[in-house]
Symmetry: C2
Subunit: 389 residues, 2 copies
Amino acid sequence: MKRGDEEIDSGFVERLAGFLGFDEERVQHLFEKIYLARNWGKHDYLFRFDKEISRIERGTVLYEKGDSFEVIMGFPKIRRAMVLDPTLKKHFSGLEKITVEEKMNGYNVRVAKVKDDILAITRSGYICPYTTEKAKEKLDLKFFDDFPELVLYGEMLGPDNPYVPKEIYGIDSVEFYIFDIREKNTGNPLPISKKHEILEEYGFLQVECFGEFPLHTAAEQITKIIRELGKKEHEGVVIKDPDMILAPLKYTSSQSNCSDLRHAFRFYNEAGRDYMLPRIVREGFQTVEWDENEAEFKKRYMQLGESILRPLRESIQSVKNGQRLYEEVRIRVKDPKTATEFENYLKRLGVDAIFEEPQPIGNEYLINIKKINKSTNDKTQAIWEGELW
Amino acid sequence: MKRGDEEIDSGFVERLAGFLGFDEERVQHLFEKIYLARNWGKHDYLFRFDKEISRIERGTVLYEKGDSFEVIMGFPKIRRAMVLDPTLKKHFSGLEKITVEEKMNGYNVRVAKVKDDILAITRSGYICPYTTEKAKEKLDLKFFDDFPELVLYGEMLGPDNPYVPKEIYGIDSVEFYIFDIREKNTGNPLPISKKHEILEEYGFLQVECFGEFPLHTAAEQITKIIRELGKKEHEGVVIKDPDMILAPLKYTSSQSNCSDLRHAFRFYNEAGRDYMLPRIVREGFQTVEWDENEAEFKKRYMQLGESILRPLRESIQSVKNGQRLYEEVRIRVKDPKTATEFENYLKRLGVDAIFEEPQPIGNEYLINIKKINKSTNDKTQAIWEGELW
């Protein structure tokens, strides 16, 4: 059979159908619609789900192993509590205690051993060459020999993260903070205590754990945590069943909503409307849940207004002044070849990016990258040239 | 042929196809898809376009007349200038002067003579029984005898307007302000001078005309007008070719954007995301176009933030307190039968409204109406009951 410009042989389709428990026709259909897509280049043995199919998360990756297949499940979507009380009591009913961990604001990545190679797999199921190099450099790889059946689920954080660069965590370049360990194939997570034990054993960095809280007082305690996190511009928390049987929930700070909005409105024609509105509505629920007085409320709506309008103004003004809109990010590599690979990778994904000359720093190279925001740029420029909305 | 639960006879389809210059099949298809729909009740001879089809605007209405048909074209969509300069110069290039009229914030309505009856036709092409009664009461109907081929395009304004009630125009109950006169069938508008002449002759109220301005200084002059309108919470302006050959443009005040946002965020789950975002982005363009300093900018973003967050907070708090969310509007009728007809009409349109007991006022009745905002209400209540977003 043919999919796009490449052949998927029918024996493969048959084996995969058997493994997934699908009809062969259904598997062929997945390939035709590119819901299931083959990687390119040296990792072309890898297939990723580009859509959620029958409870297999989008971004799930699979490949042949021996007579069968091995699967690395995607990141489960974490649902949001709009208000803590009564949502936590309802969602976690039956539990005595819940665990609260920090939700860090970085780039989601799974790291696993795949056919004797260590790979960093993005949320969408791509193999990022830069993230892979960094993961190999930063993580104790012995873990993958000892536990070849386990996958690290974490965040790449820090200023040399070319996706979500943040200075707020006091990281010099990039680090990997792990939040879950899951089994291959089933995707089952380890209980939190077991996860801590293994992560400590191998010296992995892990997202901060604020501890276990009785369910009936958790909302109050999480509110305090969120207020403190907000002061540091940190994102929020993930609230988990200690046994990792019930699905986790997330809850975020106002500062994180505003920070998302600042980014979204800077590139107002790129960011989805479905991205912006919920972040605004959350502010409404939080101010009511926190029973804010008029002064607190005023502070909140000023922050909201400014988070929206200042980046909008800056972008519109920049384009008026003849500048192009872009995001500045950077990477730090030991081998300039990794930068070239990363450049090709972004091109393949359709990202419009300009890589500047590598600058030596210690025994590494810093490379500044301008990611062009063509849609907002073109729209804004057209308006300044007299086009209608 | 059959459409929904009613028969459209094939002779009619044939005649209509001939009139529109469409294939019969195409006309049948329009009926099947309900892109072309028949009115109900006593105006069931009327058909309306529920979608824009081949440059026939949505809301266009037609009916048989003699051997042929008569058409009342819909409201042409007026495009928006995001910035005045250079948009006006580009859009109206070739003109010496342009006319600036106030854009009033009411309910769009066409009034015309249809088969010896005077009807008020809504933007979507329905016949509103309340608006029709009011139009007959308020307008000099001799106009329609003298000019049966002309249609008034205007706004129903004032506090007894159950769609867009506004107190800002100093109107006691409702009034009709006319902004265009157009011919039946072609939809061609009269030149502005001719329009003024006729409107004055029959004593019709008309939207304020700020005058004609030279194209090269218009942006500056309109900016002044907009600032003044904004102070009164008025909406904005429509900028027209005096001969009505080039399409008009609209431009609105910041206060009008914020007022729209206040309404939209009060019923945040009803109002479309595509409605909110452009109103926010306009604020960005206006602050740059007006070259605002930090103090002016701060005032603008505070207003924006408050316009968004205060109504959100009020709605969320109301639902938390166990109240239902609704919009309070009212109508004023001479005959309670009109209220009953209007209630049935809203029901037919799927509007969830509670009509209170008529209160006598002079020789008329005031009837308060609660329009229920079910979607926002249910969503907010679910969240307070611990549902996830």
